[in-house]
């Protein structure tokens, strides 16, 4: 029992130190990535080009037309997840 208590005390110390250390790292890494991206990658481009899924059977032009139609109906907030040919 007293041995177990020692383990528990150890864990209390080790555990809280580790958790604080890791979340310090999270902050540090996050900041570092932001700085790195700001310097070397810069402003976000207007969306990467979407690679059309292979084997897609719908003409991209037509699906774009459908999507825009849907977007009007849904006030621009909806998204066509899947279109199937009849």
């Amino acid at each position: 029992m007293s041995e177990n208590f020692e383990i528990a005390l150890q864990l209390l110390g080790v555990g809280m130190v580790t958790v604080f250390a890791i979340l310090f790292l999270v902050v540090f890494i996050g900041d570092a990535i932001v700085l790195f991206v700001n310097r070397f990658i810069g402003e976000e481009k207007k969306e990467m080009p979407i690679v059309l899924e292979e084997n897609s059977v719908i003409d991209p032009k037509k699906s774009a037309a459908i999507e825009s139609a849907i977007q009007i109906v849904t006030q621009g907030k909806g998204k066509v997840v899947k279109i199937e040919k009849c």
Partner: protein, 420 residues
Amino acid sequence: MDVLQKLYEMTAFGSLIENPGSLLMLAIGAILLYLGIRKQYEPLLLVPIAFGVILANLPGGGMGVVPGEFIQLEGLKQAASPDMNLMELEMEHRYMNLFEIAHEYGIMNFLYYMLIKTGLLPPIIFMGVGALTDFGPMLRNLRLSFFGAAAQLGIFTVLLIAILVGFTPKEAASLAIIGGADGPTAIYTTIKLAPHLLGPIAIAAYSYMALVPVIIPLVVKLTCSPKELKINMKQMDKLYPPKHQIKNLRAVKIAFPIVLGIVISFFVPSAVPLLGMLLFGNLIKEIGANTLRLSEAASGPIMNTATIFLGLTVGATMTSDVFLDPKTIGIIVGGFFAFAISVFGGIAAVKVFNLFTKKKINPLIGATGLSAVPMASRVANEIALKYDSNNHVLQYCMSSNISGVIGSAVAAGVLISFLS
């Protein structure tokens, strides 16, 4: 006469008389269903768990999970000792295979030993959670995520108390991880350390997560002054603006899970199955259209299917002899304190921090350092609005809230690493 005898044997009344505790378990299952359906306590998990409890305790139904020793092949090892020493060297224990488990103990044990006891489903669910998580709010207020660490205090405090009360270290750790306020993490830790407590711990974890709207206000009321709760984060941001702006959020969001995963795992490799899958799920979400099929699968059919089977099988571990044990009371009481102390830990850390800086932080941001995302943040926001109807703290709370998920996974890694 003979037919009537057979008829009686077909029914479950014989085994019901032998094991009347199952009636009590059925009642507990019904109460859990009531909490899940009517009170809407985390219904997505509590309803399957509750139904699993019922299935497991239908006498004669054969749907209860059997203890791990039942599938261990001790005989082989013992019998082998004289002339099979080679094999003995190779593997200490041998277990029934999954087909034999199904054959002998039915489908619920098959599912339990395939999906849960192997530790598979919690990381799978974490993958789905990752695919639904947006690290954006955390990245925008990165420094606040530090308080996700302090809110793990309840875990290690209750661990200590539980050991004093007589739990073994492994059991105490499984109990204490409830204070991480994270279902899959609690289940994963318990599978690794004390699988015989899986049912009560899972139920306690999800129930207290559902009680976040009660527990957080309670602790906040006991520890925070109105003046503190009126601290307005937006005004603080205006007075002391952050140093740099994020120019390309998409790139940051893609790099973040990759780098974070690698670095954390150097320090706490035992958290890799959980955190690795969480960050993988998040990565495929952030990549966007090119991996949309994957992130939709991870957060949709995969996670939903995993949730159903996790719930049913975890519930099915709660047979009467497992649940009707004084330890269950300990888990229920201990779990509550783990939760409350975690909230307190987060608040205390903010208070300490505020002693040393000019840019004050609202203690509610500490209180949301648990994982219950985004419920904790919503609750905290409501409290803030009650004291000042213009003080929206939601976005700030989300930062420590999300980092609390990482914090408790790390705490779980420490416990598993030291104790297993």
